[in-house]
Symmetry: C2
Subunit: 384 residues, 2 copies
């Protein structure tokens, strides 16, 4: 199996892109990445996207984006794993290069959510749950995450203030990221005073509906230096599913899919949690960030929210997470998120993260969650 | 790169499955294939599906199906390439095995279309076109194919009767396939007397809205004999896109994506059109079957409809196509179709196709089209 490296990254700022269509967003991010890699053609294209059929009435995204990016008669396909579509697309692109079938592979994550009415957006997102049971009974993703958060607080004595620190950290880091949706620094009080959406989950515990696109270009590691002085190896990939329906889990406070996906990725990369210098977790809700720190093996179960309130998740802390704003402040255009995480990890490993630079990192980990922890990808990147 | 074989196949009959949910359809096909392969677990799952979000309000199909099939915490993902999703899913599963990452990989294609109102189904299918231009202006897939058919008839002197022979052949073969939706033999007159949907395209030129699921199990070729006495090698894969919008094509009567995808598949398998014994083409509309025979290299441009009317497409003819009924008679549950084609090609190569058995075939080709020829997969299977 060939080793694989990232030779170029690109993105557009996350936001509400009322005047730009999905295809134009994706093509801009893709061409930015191709420009960064110094390539004017690719062998194949993988598109990470969750629900473009519902949001903008367009399927066949592989074709659409390859066509409008002028890539010619290449193979192109869309990868869907709910909100983990982006991380999964990076992994499928990895396999195309690793197998030897393709040399230069483009991966673009894109989602345009703001064209839908807000109530419809909530419904479309719930298609990632067990629609016939959870959605049918009116459980939105906010509600499902609130159930888990409530249980976590009861079980481990965590407080709403503990969780607020995840939002504060995200907004602090997002303020220095030109691609972030929210660039405003907030205080703990700001988060605590925000309205409840589903008790105990408040507005600032949740990421927003938004639009975005990000892209990476992959190549065989042994050819990567022909394109860039700073190739970043994809050293390990892991993915795992859990029950789609939260009610069918044996335990609610442990994401088995994170544990299994990260076990595979750590093993493939030959590293352990202590070796990770930059951690991009899927903080669609603050409770998910807390549990990620635990299930990825960084802190013991029940300590995730505590280390946030102690400041250990800052860029200069022991567990630097959401270093460019995370899903909360950079934004969470669902199918694009995993690719944004990858782009940001590359910035960190290239020592190109500006004011948010983690000191001299060598290894970064990205965790991307689909559903209520039902489909999770973990990728480990390494400076070469 | 490791060689890859199919060690098991399974399906459910195509039809209108009012009483069965998408998950149950997919799980039944998948378990049939696992039973056929003699495996009770797999390393990963690929799901071919076009538009479950629109049709049944359910995304995250990789998780859903892995969960309800009891496959545990494996990696699972959905592959979308419009109506070519099934063929593309087989290819992505191929890469997982070829790369060495996974040994036993399950691929299931599934689509449940009949839960939607018929007018909505037409709209959801049109999401595979250039939705902002073609769908917005009211062009359905039937209308787009009718334009191509009209031009083909004008350019090459083909008649409506020539095209009717594709439907007659499909129904004749479907009558012997227990998994086919339509098992009724028809005459040329039946097809010719059917109503116009979009002149010159008539009811019997088109495949139907339906439900279905099919699955295959993949393994490394060198381990395949541990599971089955009749492994079928996936000897070549090819995929290519074209402009998503028909109006942007340089020529309408040549599917560049078929030409490019088949060129890659032939090269990888080391074969030529004359070596192919069984041909499963994407006859969603009869005009697409005619053009497939030409663009795959079997007959000269303009002769595709003619060889049908001369009977050369029959099971014992020079170009046996739709050998188990094709999209017209077996049915076209869009995201599942490419996997049904693969299953049927395996039946033929195992000499297990009953009354429709092509005499002693060694090599089969499947062509699966997404959009109006905008995303096409070609797979070549070989008896080992």
């Amino acid at each position: 199996m060939r080793k694989v490296a990232i030779i170029g990254v690109g993105a557009i700022p996350v936001g509400e892109h009322w005047g730009t269509s999905l295809r134009d967003m994706a093509v801009e991010a893709l061409l930015n990445a191709m420009d960064d890699a110094g390539v004017d053609k690719v062998d194949s294209l993988y598109v990470g996207n969750m629900a473009s059929g519902s949001f903008v009435e367009q399927e066949n995204l592989g074709t659409l984006i390859a066509d409008f990016a002028g890539l010619g008669h290449i193979p192109a396909v869309k990868i869907e794993a709910a909100c983990a579509s982006g991380g999964a697309a990076v992994q499928e692109g990895f396999k195309a290069v690793a197998s030897g079938l393709d040399d230069i592979v483009a991966v673009v994550g894109v989602e345009k959510m703001t064209d839908a009415w807000p109530t419809d957006a909530t419904r479309y997102l719930a298609y990632a749950s067990d629609a016939e049971y959870e959605l049918f009974n009116g459980a939105s993703f906010v509600a499902l995450n609130a159930l888990v958060m409530r249980l976590y607080m009861k079980e481990f004595g965590a407080t709403e203030e503990d969780f607020a620190h995840f939002a504060v950290n995200a907004h602090k880091n997002g303020a220095n990221n030109p691609y972030a949706m929210f660039k405003k620094v907030i205080k703990v009080e700001t988060a605590l005073r925000s309205p409840y959406i589903a008790d105990p989950l408040k507005l600032f515990d949740a990421s927003s509906v938004c639009d975005g696109a990000a892209a990476v270009i992959l190549a065989p590691l042994d050819k990567a230096k022909e394109f860039t002085d700073t190739p970043i190896e994809i050293a390990g990939i892991g993915r795992a599913v859990d029950t789609i329906n939260l009610a069918n889990r044996r335990e609610l406070l442990r994401l088995r899919a994170t544990i299994e996906a990260s076990r595979r990725a750590y093993k493939m990369a030959g590293v352990e949690p202590k070796d990770i210098d930059v951690i991009e977790v899927h903080d669609a809700f603050t409770i998910m960030a807390a549990m990620a720190l635990e299930d990825l093996g960084f802190v013991p179960k029940g300590q995730g929210a505590k280390v946030a309130s102690e400041g250990q998740i800052a860029v200069d802390g022991d567990y630097p997470i959401q270093t460019m704003g995370g899903l909360k402040a950079r934004g969470h255009p669902v199918g694009a998120t995993g690719v944004y995480q990858t782009v940001e990890a590359v910035w960190q490993l290239r020592i190109d993260a500006g004011k948010n630079q983690v000191p001299d990192p060598e290894i970064a980990l990205t965790q991307n969650i689909g559903g209520t922890g039902s489909n999770i990808t973990v990728n480990i990147l390494r400076r070469v």
